[in-house]
């Protein structure tokens, strides 16, 4: 998955586990950028009676670097509070929830959103902001889209914000990828470890379909993020780096007298996510937990993972004869400067006509967005690789096929950007897990917060 349960420690702490980050120029409000950070992975919609929620003891942040130092210059901080109306019932709700202040809704969450600048100055943008309930079913949440719409809060300065449950928009065939990278559309070509289980191709299976996540979404004017004076597409000041973090207080103690956790000490980062799938499939098990605790500014120590990704070495072995040129590239020991640029510095001007999203020479894992590139009228889910400069890895839209883009990049399709003598294997431009946005049952929205209406627990699973 993009970053669901991607490291041993954070897999034990779902409310602090970041799953996906999106950053894109809002297609319906092109003077703004939408930033989305998802948490609480793989929610089975019927998971009551204690339905999913944000952690009241977790500090959620979306960070933006606008000067290339891998440190946040603008941070949007979210802190949640849970309120229980009635301690005398086991029910999440005692009747239909028709409004956000419904007396039938027993366990509600509210939040404060603040903006922190590079000097640590904090400005509170809104407080007491209501989250919507989880989507329970036709009796409990009969008008869910209206409830969710009511939870889109307009703040001052052209900012809008939403925090609550959404349909998982990230599509991926987890079952095949983690069964020894046995991509179903090509499973007959897999070495199958000599077991001859598969004789022909099969369609991909979206393992995250009909599951929900909790989203923190904020839409802000572009001018709130970029350095003053940022101009057009070629101006380096138009580029920002984005990542999310979750932090917990240092000490957490089970107070058995009161039956609750108590927390103490300064907040420390426990989760991080910039580019999709990095801590998932690039960083090795021995470094995953540590990677989650660090800012992008410290990523130089992890560069070897990007320069020699384990998966690039595995593909020719798992698919014998399919990736001969990739095998030769791996054998040569050449660093994957293409991946380093795409993921750690951004793509400088002059590589792809009309495009750059470089933040300079510092290697830092951030989702880089050139905010001056306007939204595509006909988006390509393969983003820049598909000729759509408004898509991943120029930021990331909710529907972008980041799995296929990264599979193809690792397979060598982007290496000619830095070495014209290299010819990618034919398979490199075809490799995929076989999914696309039609694999997501809940349609994406054309407006904020863009991720679809969450699946309800009565009908899912069906």
């Amino acid at each position: 998955m993009s970053s669901h349960r991607e490291a041993p420690e954070i897999a034990k702490d779902p409310v602090a586990d970041s799953t996906d980050v999106y950053a894109f120029v809002s297609p319906d409000q092109p003077s703004t950028v939408t930033l989305i950070a998802n948490y609480v992975p793989l929610q089975e919609p019927a998971g009551g009676p204690n339905f999913y929620e944000f952690g009241g003891d977790v500090r959620y942040e979306i960070n933006v670097d606008n000067n290339g130092d891998g440190q946040p210059d603008v941070t949007y901080r979210f802190q949640f509070q849970t309120k229980l109306r009635n301690t005398g019932t086991f029910l999440y709700n005692t009747g239909p929830i028709l409004t956000l202040d419904s007396p039938n809704w027993n366990r509600r969450q509210f939040y404060t959103v603040s903006k922190v600048d590079a000097q640590g100055n904090l400005t509170q943008l809104g407080t007491g902001l209501a989250c919507p309930p989880c989507n329970i079913g036709p009796l409990s949440t009969p008008s869910y889209p209206a409830l969710a719409d009511a939870a889109v809060h307009q703040l001052g300065g052209g900012i809008k914000v939403f925090a609550g449950q959404r349909a998982e928009g990230f599509y991926v065939d987890l079952g095949s990828i983690f069964d020894l990278a046995n991509l179903r559309p090509f499973e007959q070509l897999h070495n199958q470890f000599g077991m001859s289980v598969f004789s022909g191709p099969a369609p991909g299976v979206n393992a995250t379909n009909r599951l929900n996540v909790h989203s923190i979404a904020i839409q802000v004017p572009i001018t709130d993020l970029v350095r003053r004076g940022a101009g057009g597409e070629t101006d380096p000041r138009s580029v920002v780096g984005v990542w999310t973090t979750a932090s917990r207080q240092t000490v957490r103690l089970w107070d058995s007298d009161n039956g609750e956790n108590v927390n103490s000490g300064p907040f420390r980062q426990v989760s991080r996510l910039g580019n999709p799938l990095i801590n998932e499939v690039i960083i090795a098990l021995g470094d995953k937990d540590r990677w989650n605790t660090l800012p992008p500014a410290g990523d130089k120590q992890f560069v070897h993972y990007y320069a020699s990704p384990e998966l690039a070495g595995l593909l020719p072995v798992l698919y014998p004869g399919v990736f001969p040129n990739l095998a030769a590239l791996v054998k040569s020991g050449k660093a994957r400067a293409d991946l380093e640029a795409i993921l750690l510095t951004g793509i400088p001007a002059g590589i792809i006509p009309g495009f750059q999203n470089s933040t300079g020479s510092l290697q830092a894992d951030m989702l880089r967005l050139n905010t001056a590139i306007t939204p595509a009228s006909h988006p390509n889910i393969l983003g820049v690789v598909g000729g759509d400069l408004a898509g991943f890895p120029n930021g990331r839209r909710v529907f972008d096929d980041v799995v296929t883009v990264e599979l193809r990049a690792i397979a060598g399709v982007t290496f000619p950007l830095v070495d014209k003598t290299f010819t990618p294997d034919n398979a490199a431009s075809q490799v995929t897990d076989g999914l696309d946005p039609s694999s997501v049952s809940a349609p994406y929205l054309s407006h904020f917060p863009y991720l679809g209406v969450p699946y309800d627990g009565f009908d899912n699973p069906s």
Binding site: P72, T75, V116, V251, L253, D255, N258, S264, G265
Partner: protein, 117 residues
């Protein structure tokens, strides 16, 4: 005793004044820790950590003398948690509110350990 005080958290994590907790100065941390130790605190012990939720401490501690309340710390209601990193050297971390201080006091560490038996 030597101390290393880590006020608040990261440099970029300020809170608005209205939300700011009472400041925990180095001196008040030390006094608080000494006070807890002097109270013969019966605390939860978790793999080397001595942790003291305020409510639990109030119920279980049998002070031989009143714990001293540090100046400016009267409004503190949250837990003060001590993690003894090394009993022999007396290196310990004290956590309160959003603050953290590292102390080195072998005598205090020994008394705290004796306090939990």
């Amino acid at each position: 005793m030597s101390t290393e005080h880590h006020s608040g958290e990261s440099p970029r994590s300020e809170q608005p004044a209205a939300q700011r907790r009472p400041d925990l100065s180095r001196r008040s941390v030390i006094r608080g820790a000494v006070g807890l130790a002097g109270a013969g605190l019966a605390a939860s012990a978790i793999s080397g950590a001595i942790a003291t939720p305020a409510s639990a401490a109030a119920r279980t501690a049998r002070p031989t003398r009143p714990a001293r309340r540090a100046p400016g710390n009267a409004a503190r209601t949250g837990p003060v948690i001590v993690h003894i990193r090394d009993v022999a050297t007396g290196e310990m971390d004290v956590f309160a509110g959003l603050n953290h201080a590292r102390l080195t006091d072998p005598g205090l560490a020994a008394r705290l350990v004796r306090g939990v038996g």
